[in-house]
Point group: C2
Chain length 412, copies 2
């Protein structure tokens, strides 16, 4: 049976075809029947490509072929991909994807269309690349109330931060190295400013808490403002700096979701996740603390997740297997981050730092001061007590009359 | 619907009932219909227990009740549990279990019975307690050829080793502390000698490589012979000591499976897994290096996995969802461990250590010597080059004419 199609023959698409063909014999054995890739849909030409005879340009060829059971949508974006996915699911063809943008925007709707048409919309590859996280959260941990998710969800920023921490490279140099190595795109905004991580934590939060969490409602700050001075203060105090996406259910039914750099103590495994690796912590009321670690991006790791989903769809033809989330209205369940409690690392500059300490103490009470080699006389770094972020901001507003607030980083 | 039964009301059984009842409303929502625990089967009395009215002593009550769809077998052992499980599956009732002994001995057979009767035999709780590993390996990574599995699979021994490494506690003291804390049983043999870890790596190997790997064919050595001297030599050289179960497919179709303590470099996340935590590394040809970390045992973590499996069975009534392994003959696919290559830490004693060095060099060539504070003049510790274990043994046999071989620990 040539029952599989791939839409998009870029990095992930070609990885998917490569891995599927390499392990096809085993895959057929696992699903208990024959299977193969029939079409690869892309608007570009690939003259001389090994699978040139399977290339098609017209999506409708796939849509209208009765033999096709599963389609891997690895085009990306939320316009054409959205339209393709809807049409395929409405025809009862399962769709698997690495398209985090689409899942984060329309996941609930697409899952419900799949369910209504006895097929599946699977997206293991959309979060954590090759790391199994969607299925574990959706199935293995289904007996738990999830009390917290926190993860390093973007490999590019983790690579940059690792270079800054381990090799004292500046943000700019580390970014340009990441670009040279192909880890960062020419326009690195989506990675560096946290938008990519934001989509991923929204998908995990939606799955874990059963309500669609839209990226547009989530506070998201990136790593471009982190300096080597901050890195050094943190290191001296026993912390690394990581870009963390986190989500937790609040007592009032809302969800606390935020993406931002955080100080992570070295005793925490997350602090030891380096380079382009990702790691996701999930805490359940039964399971306790679980951590998933691996390659969060890249051709074959992402393909590994896509192919796993293809196999699951082939094995469960005409049967919905995912536990979806219900609410696909545009409503926001996200709690304002300023109403959450946090501990904040703060770096200030201005005048004589010793003279600033009484002002800090008056505002925050007793704080922990951090040190770094060659700290200038006019610089001070400290950790606030754990308090509402709105309160911290008020106090810093007050403090800014005496000193300039150079840096604020939340503690994990 | 009161469609669930639990057999065995011990630690895991009571955890399962507790977690299921606590989150029952959410669980019903997830499966899209009502569900509840109807029976708890145990030969003991539990007067005053909250669920006393659901307790039954006769297994046949469960077997013959048409309403029961899923049974959690958390009795343990491979005699009664085996009989119960077979009978239930043959009636088309799904069984979920934490019983690693039974899965390691009869997993292939029970999976095939389940498949033949359109029901499921799930055992997420049998390896890694609350850590999702069975389903990720069986589903998410199904598109990969697995090239290696290596893990810390036993919490008790990891607790003991952590105390030895971090607090210089002797093996005996650490064991007795583990017993006091309830982490080790009065007879700690199954944990300490690696039998428990062995069952777990066999289950993972069977799943990953599609052939039943029997514990009886696997070389298994425990941690009772590890001394604080070994710990110190290892630490000084940048290694921790961990009990590792590992499995890898060999080119000749056999599987290299072994359970033994190993030196693990501190740069490896496995080396940072402390106390009763477990962690499992899986390497796939697509996914690359993946690590799963969490609580490998305990009442609620294990219950988390059991309840996750119950939910999956309820969601997939009359439909087999697992990818099983084929060969349930008694054949051994396990390669003799002596035919595998390894690097070995060796500690020897006898005469003047400086005088022993030429003999070591003659046998092994240039080796790396390790140091510890207050090393006695008659002691020497070194790392062999990577070579066949049979060769190492021959050379050590030769060396034993000049010195006594005190300790041998493989490198990861």
């Amino acid at each position: 049976m040539r029952n599989v199609a791939v839409i998009g023959y870029g990095v992930v698409g070609s990885g998917t075809v490569e891995l599927f063909e390499k392990n096809r014999e085993d895959i057929c054995h696992k699903i208990g029947r024959d299977c193969d890739i029939k079409y690869i849909c892309d608007l570009r030409d690939f003259p001389g490509d090994k699978f040139e005879d399977r290339l098609v340009k017209d999506f409708n060829v796939i849509l209208n072929d009765e033999e096709i059971e599963v389609v891997a949508e690895v085009v990306g974006g939320a316009t054409f991909a959205y339209e393709y996915t809807r049409k395929l699911l409405e025809k009862g063809k399962s769709v698997v994807t690495s398209n985090k943008e689409l899942v984060a925007m329309h996941g609930a709707e697409l899952l419900s269309i799949a369910k209504a048409h006895d097929c599946n919309y699977l997206f293991e590859a959309s979060v954590g690349g090759g790391i199994p996280i969607i299925r574990p959260l959706n199935k293995c941990l289904a007996g738990n109330k999830i009390t917290k998710i926190a993860g390093i969800l973007n490999g590019t920023t983790n690579f940059i931060l690792t270079k800054m921490i381990k090799e004292q490279m500046s943000f700019e140099d580390a970014l340009s190295m990441a670009q040279k190595l192909g880890y960062a795109e020419a326009d690195p905004t989506a990675d560096v400013e946290g938008h990519d991580a934001c989509r991923k934590i929204c998908i995990l939060a939606s799955l874990a808490f059963g309500k669609h969490v839209y990226p547009k409602y989530v506070h998201c700050s990136g790593i471009s403002h982190i300096t080597l001075d901050d890195v050094e203060y943190a290191e001296n105090a026993g912390y690394g700096i990581k870009l963390i996406g986190s989500a937790e259910p609040l007592d009032d039914g809302r969800i606390g979701v935020i993406v931002c750099p955080r100080l992570v103590p070295h005793s925490d495994l997350l602090s030891n996740v380096d380079d382009v690796y990702n790691a996701i912590r999930v805490i359940g009321d039964g399971s306790g603390d679980i951590l998933f670690y691996g390659r969060g991006a890249g051709k074959l790791p992402t393909a590994s997740a896509v192919v796993g989903d293809i196999i699951d769809c082939l094995k469960h033809k005409d049967r919905s297997i995912m536990i979806g989330w219900d609410d696909c209205s545009d409503k926001s369940y996200v709690a304002p981050y300023k109403a959450m409690k946090t501990t904040m690392y703060v770096r200030i500059k201005g005048g004589d730092s010793e003279a600033l300490k009484p002002a800090v103490t008056e505002l925050f009470g007793k704080v922990m001061y951090l040190e770094r080699n060659g700290r200038p006389d006019d610089e001070l770094a400290f950790m606030t007590p754990n308090m509402l972020e709105s309160e911290i901001d008020e106090k810093l507003e007050e403090l800014s009359k005496a000193a300039s607030i150079e840096s604020k980083i939340r503690l994990i």
